[in-house]
Symmetry: C2
Amino acid sequence: MGYGNVSERRSAPPQIGVTSVILALESEAHGHARCRLWLPLVQRTREPFKGMWALPGGQLQANRSLEESAFATLASTTDLHPTYLEQLYTFGDPMRSSNGIPMVSVCYWALLDHTDLGAELGTAANAHNVRWFPVDDLPELAFDHTTIVEYALWRLRHRMDAPNVVRQLIAEPFTLGQLRDVVEAVLGEELDLANFRRKMLASHTLEDTGEVAREGRRRPAALYRFADHAEEEGFAFFAEHVAGNPHGARGTLQVDSPDDVLSALMPHA
Amino acid sequence: MGYGNVSERRSAPPQIGVTSVILALESEAHGHARCRLWLPLVQRTREPFKGMWALPGGQLQANRSLEESAFATLASTTDLHPTYLEQLYTFGDPMRSSNGIPMVSVCYWALLDHTDLGAELGTAANAHNVRWFPVDDLPELAFDHTTIVEYALWRLRHRMDAPNVVRQLIAEPFTLGQLRDVVEAVLGEELDLANFRRKMLASHTLEDTGEVAREGRRRPAALYRFADHAEEEGFAFFAEHVAGNPHGARGTLQVDSPDDVLSALMPHA
DNA sequence: CCAAAAGTGTTGATATTACACCCATGT
DNA sequence: ACATGGGTGTAATATCAACACTTTTGG
């Protein structure tokens, strides 16, 4: 690309990119190791940071909304369908330059449906220069992407009390024990099952399917699903602010604005 | 500006703007009406929405960070110094076009020091096409700016438990009664003074100056100031996440990343 | 019967709320 | 003295963490 010298490039209009942190939870570890979060990275083919791993992203297309562009970054790395998408933050320090061109990145984070991550690890993984990594064992990342990932994980942890988030991480129906395992994996801390159970049931976001899971030589556990009204209920801080699905399109994709409020304020959506 | 037809403009690279919601609290209503929040608006001189009121903003300059650009929007509307600045959200729907050119707006919200708003209302107000409005009595706004303002107010309310935010809204030293009045004004709900006092004192974010305020024919009230370590303390949800001042520059300007965490994650800051 | 996880009960610590009450002051 | 907000006390209630205990299954 034929740009002038550095000072000319510095004064060029800033480019807008969209970058995504795509998270998926490993299907339950049968071996009883705690299941982990994974995310896909792309190996850079150009300078700067050529050869290093980076978050998937791309330039913002003129006729696309930010959400649509974020969705495009998902399509470029996986065929699976994200079920949750939320804007994370916009980074715009001029030092974050690419080839000297000032770069603004609108960052999103997304959850992939509790789908079989194993299949994904086999297919798209080696097909392109895309590979999935467990979040607790990432390589050194290009740009400030390490910061972005850490922030996305922080956001996820603080969204775990929103039914719309948790429900993406587990397949229905599920036992309360399984649900706790998932929450524990994300939060990275142990939870007393007795108290966890009470809190969940008191939240009125779950409904009993009437079925039971008989597994191993122990007492069968009741199976639950998320109640349809779970979005409006919530069970903690976000109770009053949880938004519906303003996007509408793309099946079950949930697009929640930050802190869940914005879309509720949107006149049109 | 000589652009082509609509479809050509649609495919032009998106423009990046920075838009700010600047909030200031009316100096204590002596007449005993509850003090209100105000914000400055700019009257548009061009299409679209020519003549309507809009949030101050401008194009992102290539060699400026987003924060610096947000700060520039402040300078364009007021001489006062903001003491708090936080990124709000980035809007990027292509329908939000200006002259058909896709427009991405990175929005910030800022607090102006508890300074005498009255002076401000007189000077900058009529000098340019800038005027201050109380947030509960805004005119119809251009673009989606009404949504942005409502969201900024929501954010402010949910930041009131962060000492760094509250401290911008009141002049030190202050009585607990005055502090309660401020919080009540922002939250829009009444607070039991006895409980409010206990919670504040238990938070260890205040320190007694030893002075008393003798006013009117009643018992003098103790005067407090915010403790220096108030930033690290916090007294509620954000306790663990409150960030220091990563910006450093510009005196007392506080730049907190959303949910207060990001800057704590920043490697350099 | 036993191991193991499901599920229930209980208890003490801590917060939150509502409200009664006293205190210190200028007029 | 008294009205007024400053400041304290307190009892009812809610929340929550910890942990003992019972239940139900497969082996």
